[in-house]
C-alpha cells in the first residue's frame, strides 16, 4: 500500500547500496567520536546497529540524518555522494528517524500526529481535515492494526502504549515515502508483548520493500529482525555479523569480547549483496 517501488528507484542498479558511509571520521573537542566508518545499507534490508553507550551509534545516525557533518569521508545515497547534508535534505532523500519519546505529540489526535508538518490542504490553503481523518482511518485498519472501535482518528495519542506510538510513527514515515527508517532504541521500556508488536512493525518496513537501521544495545531485540548486525565500539566498527549464520549465544559472546578488548577474534561474516524480498517474489 505504500508503493513497492518509488520513483527514486528508477534506473538504479538494485545492487547499489541505498545508503553508504565511506571512511567517515568525526571529532568532538579533540575526542574521536567516529573513526573510519564504512557502512552500507541495502535497498531492502534491516541492519541492527549495536554497541555500548558511547560507542558512537547516535553520532553515526546523526550524520545520516544530517545533524552532523563528517570531518572527512563521504555519505552516499544510491551511490551518489551528498555533501553538506542537512536535516531537510536527508528527509528529502528518504531518511526518517523515529524516536520513542519524541515521535508523537501526546495531546494531539491520531490524525494530527500522522500529518504533523505535512498536512493535506485544500485549494484555498486550509486543512483538508476530512481527507486527513479518512486517510488516518485507512492507515489504522491497514497498517497499524487498530481494529477496536474505541480507537478513532480523533483519539488522543497520550493513552497509547509505547509500542503503538512507535507503530504510528513508523506508519507515518512509510506513508510519506521514507525508505530509510531509523529506529533509535525502540524497545526501551516496552513489555514483552509490546516489543513483539514493535518487531511486527519493523518487519512491515521490510515487507514494504524499504530499509531500516535499528539501534539498540540489546542484541536480543535486534537478532530477531535484522538481516545484518553491525557492532560499534569506541567509534569504530568492530564487527559485522549475520544472524542467519550465528546463534544469539555466539553473538552475545562476540559482543562481550568486543566490549572488553575493542575487537573481535571472530572474523566478519562475508558481505553479501542484500537480496530484496520484492525481487525474490517478483
Amino acid at each position: 500500500m505504500f508503493g513497492q517501488m518509488s520513483d527514486k528507484d528508477a534506473g538504479i542498479d538494485p545492487a547499489t547500496p541505498r545508503l553508504e558511509l565511506r571512511g567517515v571520521n568525526k571529532q568532538f573537542a579533540g575526542v574521536q567520536a567516529l573513526s573510519d566508518i564504512n557502512f552500507r545499507l541495502g535497498r531492502n534490508e534491516i541492519v541492527g546497529l549495536i554497541g555500548d553507550n558511547g560507542a558512537g551509534k547516535s553520532t553515526m545516525i546523526k550524520h545520516i540524518c544530517g545533524y552532523h557533518s563528517p570531518d572527512s569521508g563521504e555519505i552516499l545515497f544510491d551511490g551518489v555522494p551528498v555533501h553538506n547534508l542537512t536535516v531537510e535534505r536527508a528527509r528529502q532523500l528518504g531518511v526518517a528517524a523515529v524516536y520513542q519519546e519524541r515521535a508523537l505529540a501526546d495531546l494531539q489526535t491520531l490524525w494530527r500526529n500522522i500529518f504533523i508538518g505535512q498536512e493535506i490542504q485544500t485549494r484555498f490553503g486550509f486543512l483538508d481535515v476530512r481527507k486527513m481523518r479518512r486517510e488516518t482511518h485507512k492507515l489504522m485498519l491497514e497498517s497499524m492494526g487498530f481494529t477496536s472501535t474505541a480507537v478513532t482518528p480523533e483519539s488522543v495519542v497520550k493513552n497509547f502504549s509505547g509500542g503503538e506510538k512507535q507503530g504510528i510513527a513508523i506508519t507515518r514515515a512509510l506513508y510519506f515515502d521514507a525508505d530509510i527508517v531509523i529506529l533509535d532504541e525502540p524497545a526501551v521500556g516496552l513489555s514483552i508483548k509490546e516489543t513483539d508488536k514493535l518487531l511486527q512493525f519493523i518487519q512491515s518496513i521490510k515487507k514494504a520493500g524499504k530499509a531500516s537501521i535499528l539501534i539498540d544495545h540489546n542484541i536480543f531485540h535486534v537478532y530477531e529482525v535484522a538481516d545484518r548486525i553491525v557492532v560499534l565500539d569506541r567509534g569504530k566498527i568492530a564487527g559485522r555479523f549475520r544472524p542467519k549464520h550465528r546463534n544469539v549465544i555466539e553473538l552475545t559472546e562476540i559482543m562481550r569480547e568486543i566490549a572488553e578488548t575493542g575487537h573481535s577474534s571472530v572474523p566478519d561474516d562475508p558481505y553479501e549483496e542484500p537480496v530484496s524480498d520484492t525481487e525474490e517474489t517478483a
Binding site: A105, Q108, I116, G117, R133
Partner: protein
C-alpha cells in the same frame, strides 16, 4: 460471505463517519468526552448568566447592559484571541497592554503631523508588529523565557510611550468625521462596531488555529517542541509570527480603546492584562500548552466582562468585584484541570 459483506459496509460507514469527525448525533458519549472542556465552559457561562438574571433581573433583561458589554469586552477580548494561540504554543505574552500605548503614540504623532487617520492607523499597526518582533527576537533568537522577556518589555514599551509623548493626554475629537472612526467604534443596527471586530478576530483565529497549517504547527509546538522540530516544522518562524500577531492585535485594541473614549491617555491598555489572560485561561486553553479553544476564550471574555457589571447590578458593593473575579478564575481553571485529568 454475509459476514464479510457486513464488514465492508461497516468500514465504508466508518470512513464516511470519520471524515466528519466526532459527531454529536452518531456518538454523543464520545462527543461529550472530546469536547468536555468546551461544553464545560458553555455550561459555566450559562450558569453565570442565569445567576445574574435571577439576582439582577432589571439590569439583565434590558438591552442596554448587553450593548455596554458589546462595546467594552472587545477592548480586551480581541487581544485574547492571538493570546489563545500564544498559550496553546506553550508561550506567554505579558507585554501587550503597553503595546496598546506604544502603537497609539505612533497614531497620535502621525495624526498630529498629517491629519491623516488611515495613515495613523497604519503606523499604529506597524508599531504593534515591531513591538511583537522585539519580543520575538528576545524570546526566540536570544532564548529568554517569554514570561521574563515580556515582563521586561511590558515596562519598556510603556516607558518608551511615556517618554516619546511626554506624558500628554490628547483629545481625538477631530478624528470623528473620519469614516474609519465609524468603522472602528461606530454602530451597526445599534450594535457597537467593536463587537463585530471581536467576532471577526474570533472567527479568523479559529480558522488559523484549527483549519490551517500554522495552527497545526502551534498545537505540536505547545505539546512537544522536539517532535515539531523532528517533523520539520520551522519552530522559530512559527513562534516569531505568533508574537507579531499579538503586537498587531494589541495596537489595534489601542485604537479601539482610544477612539471609543475619543481621547488618548498614555495609560491606555493598563488594566487589560488580567482580563485578557483570564479570558484565555477561564476559557479552557491549557496553561501547559498543546490545547487551545477559541470558543472558550470568547465565552471566557464575556464571563470576565460580565462579572463587574453583574456584581454592581446585583446590589453588592464594588469591593466584591475582585473577590468574585478571583473566585471565578480559580474555580474555572480548577475545573478545567479536573476535566483534563478525567478526559484528556
Amino acid at each position: 460471505m454475509n459476514g464479510s459483506m457486513t464488514d465492508t459496509d461497516q468500514t465504508a460507514l466508518d470512513e464516511a463517519t470519520w471524515g466528519r469527525g466526532v459527531s454529536l448525533l452518531h456518538d454523543p458519549k464520545r462527543f461529550a468526552s472530546t469536547y468536555a472542556g468546551q461544553l464545560g465552559i458553555t455550561g459555566a457561562f450559562l450558569l453565570l448568566w442565569i445567576a445574574f438574571l435571577v439576582t439582577a433581573p432589571d439590569t439583565f433583561t434590558h438591552i442596554e447592559i448587553y450593548a455596554a458589554f458589546a462595546a467594552t469586552i472587545p477592548l480586551f477580548g480581541i487581544v485574547a484571541m492571538p493570546l489563545t494561540m500564544v498559550v496553546t504554543a506553550g508561550e506567554i505574552d505579558l507585554s501587550f497592554p503597553s503595546t496598546y500605548a506604544l502603537g497609539m503614540v505612533g497614531f497620535v504623532l502621525t495624526w498630529e503631523h498629517t491629519g491623516n487617520v488611515p495613515l495613523a492607523i497604519a503606523v499604529c499597526l506597524l508599531i504593534g508588529a515591531v513591538a511583537g518582533l522585539i519580543n520575538a527576537f528576545v524570546i526566540v533568537q536570544i532564548g529568554v523565557p517569554a514570561l521574563v522577556a515580556t515582563i521586561g518589555t511590558l515596562f519598556f514599551f510603556r516607558g518608551l510611550s511615556l517618554v516619546v509623548i511626554g506624558g500628554r493626554n490628547i483629545t481625538l475629537i477631530e478624528t470623528r468625521p473620519s469614516i474609519l472612526f465609524r468603522l472602528f467604534v461606530g454602530e451597526l443596527y445599534g450594535i457597537p462596531m467593536q463587537f463585530f471586530w471581536l467576532l471577526l478576530a474570533a472567527v479568523a483565529t479559529w480558522f488559523l488555529l484549527n483549519r490551517h497549517k500554522y495552527g497545526a504547527a502551534l498545537y505540536v509546538i505547545g505539546d512537544n517542541i522536539q517532535t515539531a522540530e523532528l517533523q520539520g516544522i520551522k519552530t522559530k518562524q512559527v513562534r516569531l509570527i505568533l508574537f507579531i500577531l499579538v503586537g498587531v492585535a494589541a495596537a489595534f485594541s489601542g485604537i479601539l480603546s482610544s477612539l471609543f473614549i475619543v481621547s488618548f491617555f498614555p495609560s491606555v491598555g493598563d488594566g487589560q492584562l488580567l482580563p485578557a489572560l483570564a479570558a484565555v485561561f477561564v476559557g479552557g486553553t491549557s496553561v501547559f500548552g498543546g490545547k487551545g479553544t477559541v470558543w472558550g476564550t470568547l465565552l471566557g471574555a464575556f464571563m470576565i466582562g460580565t462579572i463587574n457589571a453583574g456584581i454592581v447590578a446585583a446590589g453588592l458593593t464594588g469591593f466584591y468585584t475582585q473577590l468574585i473575579y478571583g473566585a471565578v478564575i480559580v474555580v474555572s481553571v480548577s475545573i478545567h484541570a479536573m476535566v483534563q485529568r478525567r478526559f484528556g
